[in-house]
C-alpha cells in the first residue's frame, strides 16, 4: 500500500535491527498475529494503522500479511479490523527471503 510505505517508519533502531537480523524481539512475550486470507477483505486498515515502530503489515499480491518477526502482538490491527479476521499466531513460521528483500527497502531513506 503505497501511501503507508511512503510514510517513514519510526526512526528507532529497533525495527531496523529486527529487519536486519530477520528475527523477533526477544522481549516480546505475546505471539504475533496473522490475517486469515479466507476472511480478509483487503481493506488495508490494519496496514494503515500498524504502529510505525513495528511496521509489520504488508500487501503481498492478493493478500495482506503480517510479518511475524516484526509483529509484537499488540492489538491495534485487531481493533481496527472491520471483519475481525486477525488471529493470534502461536505457530508462526519464518518469513521467506524474497519477502525480506522487499521489507528491507522500508528501512532505507526515501528517495
Amino acid at each position: 500500500m503505497a501511501w503507508a510505505k511512503q510514510t517513514p517508519y519510526a526512526a528507532t533502531t529497533g525495527r531496523a535491527d529486527r529487519v536486519a537480523q530477520r528475527a523477533r524481539h526477544d522481549g516480546w512475550k505475546k505471539p504475533p498475529r496473522r490475517i486469515e486470507a479466507s476472511e480478509c477483505i483487503t481493506c488495508d486498515l490494519c496496514l494503515r494503522n500498524c504502529p510505525p515502530e513495528f511496521g509489520a503489515i504488508f500487501d503481498r499480491g492478493l493478500d495482506v500479511v503480517i510479518v511475524p518477526e516484526l509483529c509484537s502482538g499488540c492489538p491495534v490491527c485487531v481493533m481496527v479490523c472491520p471483519v475481525d479476521c486477525i488471529y493470534v499466531d502461536e505457530d508462526w513460521s519464518e518469513t521467506d527471503p524474497q519477502m525480506w528483500n522487499h521489507i528491507e527497502l522500508t528501512t532505507e531513506d526515501p528517495p
Binding site: S38, E39, I41, T42, V78, P82
Partner: protein, 627 residues
C-alpha cells in the same frame, strides 16, 4: 492515538477504545475482537481461480481430440472468451496452435486455413500445458519439456507433429518473428523521436496509471507485468512508487538504448492504450500479450464500435506503425469523450482473467422499463413518494426534499430510508442474491470540509466515515450453508469492503495537493460494468460467491464539485444466470436515482441540516438479516 473505528469524533477516548475492543463481525458482536480461536469461514486453498484451472485442465484431458482440448483451455471450460486466451499466447505458441488446430485471434489467416493432418507419422513430439496463470503453453521445437520450464496446472497433453506441420510452423514462425522484430524497431525509433523528456513523462504517467488503476495483468512473451496476483512487477498495492521491482520504475534514468525490447514495447503499448481512453483502457488488454499488433487490434475494434454511433467517423490507422496508431489512439480518446455524453458506455468484465471489454449499450427496451416500473412501484408503496418512473419520483422529491434530512420510519433520516428501500426493491426486481449501495455517512461534515477546502481532513477520513447498505434475499442463505449468521457476516464483509471502495475513490475527486497525492486512491469509476464469473477472482469474491454482478457507480455534485463514483448500486448473483445489458441499464437508472437524492440531501446539508447516515453498521446488518 485515534483509531478509525467510528466516525463520531465527539466520543471520549475511553468510549472509542472500548468500542474498538469489540468485534465488528455481526455474529461475534459483544465479544472481544481478535480472541476467536479459529476462523469461521475457511475456504479451500484451491477455491476460485486455481480450482477453475484444474477443472479446465480435466476437461481438456477428457476431450476427444486436440482442437476440442484446446478449446476447453482457451475458454477455461466455458468461463472466458477464447479470443482473450488466444491473444495471451507467446509467438511460438500462437504459431503452433495455428498450424496444429487452426486457432488464431488474427483476422489475417488465409481464408479456410486448415490445421495440419496430425494423423501422419510424427517427426517431433511436442506437448501442450496450462500454466497456473491460466495461459496455454506449447512445447515447440527448440523449447524444452514444459514441466521443467513452466508452472503447470496438471501434466501435459502430448502432441505429435508430422513433417508437414513442422514445415508450416517454420514458415509461420519466420513470418511472425520478422513482424515482431519490425515492431520492436518501430517502437525504439518512435521513443527516440519523442525524446528523453517525453519518455520520462510517459513513465510518470504509466506509473500513475498502475498505481491508481488495478488490476493489470499483461504479458510480453514469458514476462508477466502485474500489480495483482502472482509475483508483482508493476507499481500497485504491493510495490509502492519507486520500488525497484516495478518494471516501469526500473526504467527511470536508464537510456532507452539500454532498455530490453520488451521494455520498449511495453512503454509504447501502454502509452497508446492510455491515449485512447485514459488509464482504464489498459484493463482491456488484461490477460493478453502486449505487442504493437495486439494493441492495433484492440484500437481497431474500438474504432469500429465507436463508428457504429452516428456522428464523427474515425478513419482507420494509416498503417500499423506506432506513429499511425498514436494518431488513431488520440482520435479514439477524443471521440470517447464525445460519446460519454450521448450513449451509455459500460464494461463487460471476465473475472477469471480480469479482462474488460468496453461496450456501447443499445437503447433501454421493454425489459429495462419493466424493471424500473416495478422498482418505482415498490418505492411508492414504502416511501412518501409518487410518480410512475424513477425520474418522476425524483422530480417530485426535489420539490420538497426536506424529509430526506428528517427521521423516517426506523431510520434517522429519509435518505437512509430511501437508500434501504431502493436496495431492498432491487433485490426483488432484479432477482438478486444481494444488492447494495454505498456512500458517505456525513454529508454535513463533507460540505463543511469542502467550504473550508480542508482536503487534508477529507483524505484522513477512513472506512467508518462511509456506509454501505447490503440487503440479501433471505433465500441466499442456501449459498452459505443455510446459515443466517453466515449470510449476515457475508453481507457485512461486503459492506465493509464497499466502504473501502468509497474511501479509495474519494481522494481522486479532490485537487492534487501534496496530502491528496500522497494518499492511496484509485481513479473513481464513471461507467457501469457487468461481470461474469468474478467468483474466480480473489479471496473476497470467492468467499462471498460474487459470481455475476453489476456495478453502477454515479457521480454526485456537492457544492459545485463533481464526485465521481460517490454512490453506486451493486447487484449480485451467487449462481444461476448472469445479468444482461437491460439489467445494467435499469440498474444504472436506479443508481442515478440514489445519486440524485444524495445530491438533494447534500444541498440540505450545505444549507445547514445535520445529515448523517447512522444505520448500516454491523448491528443493523445482524438485526435485519440474522435476527
Amino acid at each position: 492515538m485515534t483509531l478509525p473505528i467510528q466516525r463520531d469524533a465527539g466520543a471520549s477516548r475511553r468510549a472509542t477504545l472500548a468500542k474498538a475492543r469489540q468485534s465488528r463481525r455481526p455474529s461475534r458482536l459483544g465479544t472481544p475482537a481478535g480472541t476467536a480461536d479459529k476462523p469461521d469461514y475457511l475456504v479451500p486453498a484451491d477455491a476460485g481461480f486455481p480450482g477453475l484451472l484444474r477443472r479446465a485442465w480435466d476437461l481438456a484431458t477428457a476431450a476427444p481430440d486436440l482442437p476440442a482440448a484446446v478449446d476447453e483451455l482457451l475458454t477455461l471450460g466455458g468461463h472466458v472468451p477464447a479470443g482473450v486466451q488466444l491473444r495471451a499466447l507467446r509467438i511460438t505458441d500462437e504459431c503452433a496452435l495455428k498450424v496444429l488446430c487452426a486457432r488464431s485471434w488474427r483476422p489475417d489467416p488465409p481464408e479456410g486455413h486448415q490445421a495440419g493432418d496430425l494423423a501422419e507419422p510424427p517427426v517431433f513430439r511436442g506437448a501442450i500445458g496450462l500454466t497456473t496463470s491460466g495461459r496455454i503453453v506449447v512445447q515447440v521445437p527448440s523449447r524444452g519439456p514444459l514441466p521443467g520450464e513452466e508452472d503447470l496446472v496438471g501434466g501435459v497433453l502430448r502432441v505429435p507433429w508430422p513433417a508437414a506441420v513442422l514445415a508450416d510452423y517454420q514458415a509461420e514462425l519466420t513470418r511472425m518473428a520478422a513482424r515482431y522484430a519490425g515492431t520492436v524497431a518501430d517502437c525504439r525509433a518512435w521513443l527516440a523521436a519523442e525524446g528523453p523528456d517525453a519518455v520520462q513523462d510517459m513513465l510518470d504517467n504509466l506509473k500513475e496509471a498502475a498505481l491508481r488503476t488495478a488490476p493489470f495483468v499483461l504479458y510480453q512473451e514469458d514476462r508477466q507485468y502485474t500489480n495483482f496476483r502472482d509475483l508483482n512487477t508493476l507499481t500497485g498495492k504491493t510495490l509502492w512508487p519507486g520500488h525497484p521491482d516495478c518494471a516501469l520504475s526500473g526504467l527511470e534514468g536508464v537510456p532507452v538504448g539500454l532498455w530490453s525490447d520488451s521494455d520498449a514495447v511495453l512503454v509504447v503499448c501502454l502509452t497508446l492504450l492510455v491515449r485512447s481512453a485514459g488509464f482504464a483502457r489498459i484493463e482491456e488488454a488484461n490477460g493478453t500479450q502486449l505487442t504493437v499488433e495486439h494493441v492495433a487490434h484492440l484500437l481497431e475494434a474500438t474504432r469500429l464500435k465507436y463508428n457504429g454511433v452516428p456522428g464523427t467517423q474515425i478513419p482507420p490507422a494509416a498503417s500499423t506503425r506506432v506513429a499511425a496508431l498514436a494518431v488513431l489512439a488520440g482520435a479514439l480518446g477524443r471521440r470517447r469523450r464525445e460519446l460519454a455524453g450521448s450513449v451509455q458506455l459500460y464494461r463487460e468484465i471476465h473475472g477469471p482473467l480480469m479482462h474488460k471489454i468496453e461496450r456501447i449499450a443499445g437503447p433501454a427496451g421493454e425489459a429495462a422499463s419493466r424493471r424500473e416500473t416495478d422498482l418505482s412501484a415498490r418505492l411508492r408503496d414504502r416511501l412518501p413518494v409518487s410518480g410512475a418512473t424513477l425520474g418522476e419520483i425524483g422530480a417530485k422529491i426535489a420539490t420538497a426534499p426536506e424529509w430526506l434530512a428528517q427521521p423516517h420510519g426506523e431510520f434517522g433520516t429519509g435518505l437512509e430510508s430511501l437508500v434501504y428501500e431502493t436496495v431492498r426493491a432491487a433485490v426483488e426486481v432484479f432477482d438478486c442474491d444481494f444488492a447494495m449501495s454505498r456512500g458517505m455517512r456525513s454529508l454535513t461534515a463533507l460540505t463543511r470540509a469542502l467550504r473550508a477546502e480542508d482536503w487534508q481532513e477529507i483524505v484522513t477520513w477512513d472506512l467508518p466515515h462511509y456506509y454501505c447498505c447490503v440487503v440479501p434475499d433471505p433465500r441466499a442463505r442456501r449459498h452459505f450453508e443455510d446459515s443466517p449468521s453466515h449470510l449476515a457476516d457475508t453481507a457485512w464483509s461486503m459492506s465493509a469492503r464497499m466502504q473501502y471502495n468509497s474511501w479509495h475513490f474519494i481522494a481522486g475527486n479532490l485537487p492534487r495537493t501534496p496530502e491528496v497525492a500522497a494518499r492511496d486512491f484509485f481513479v473513481p469509476p464513471t461507467i457501469p460494468d457487468v461481470a461474469y464469473y468474478s467468483d474466480q477472482h480473489h479471496h473476497g469474491h470467492v468467499a462471498a460467491k460474487v459470481r455475476f454482478s453489476i456495478r453502477s457507480p454515479q457521480a454526485v455534485e456537492i457544492l459545485g464539485r463533481t464526485f465521481n463514483g460517490f454512490v453506486d448500486l451493486r447487484l449480485l448473483r451467487c449462481a444461476g444466470r448472469p445479468f444482461d445489458e437491460q439489467d445494467l441499464l435499469a440498474a444504472h437508472r436506479a443508481s442515478g436515482f440514489v445519486a440524485a437524492m444524495t445530491g438533494l440531501a447534500a444541498e440540505l446539508a450545505a444549507d445547514g441540516a445535520e445529515l448523517e447516515v447512522t444505520a448500516f453498521d454491523p448491528q443493523w446488518h445482524w438485526s435485519t438479516i440474522a435476527s
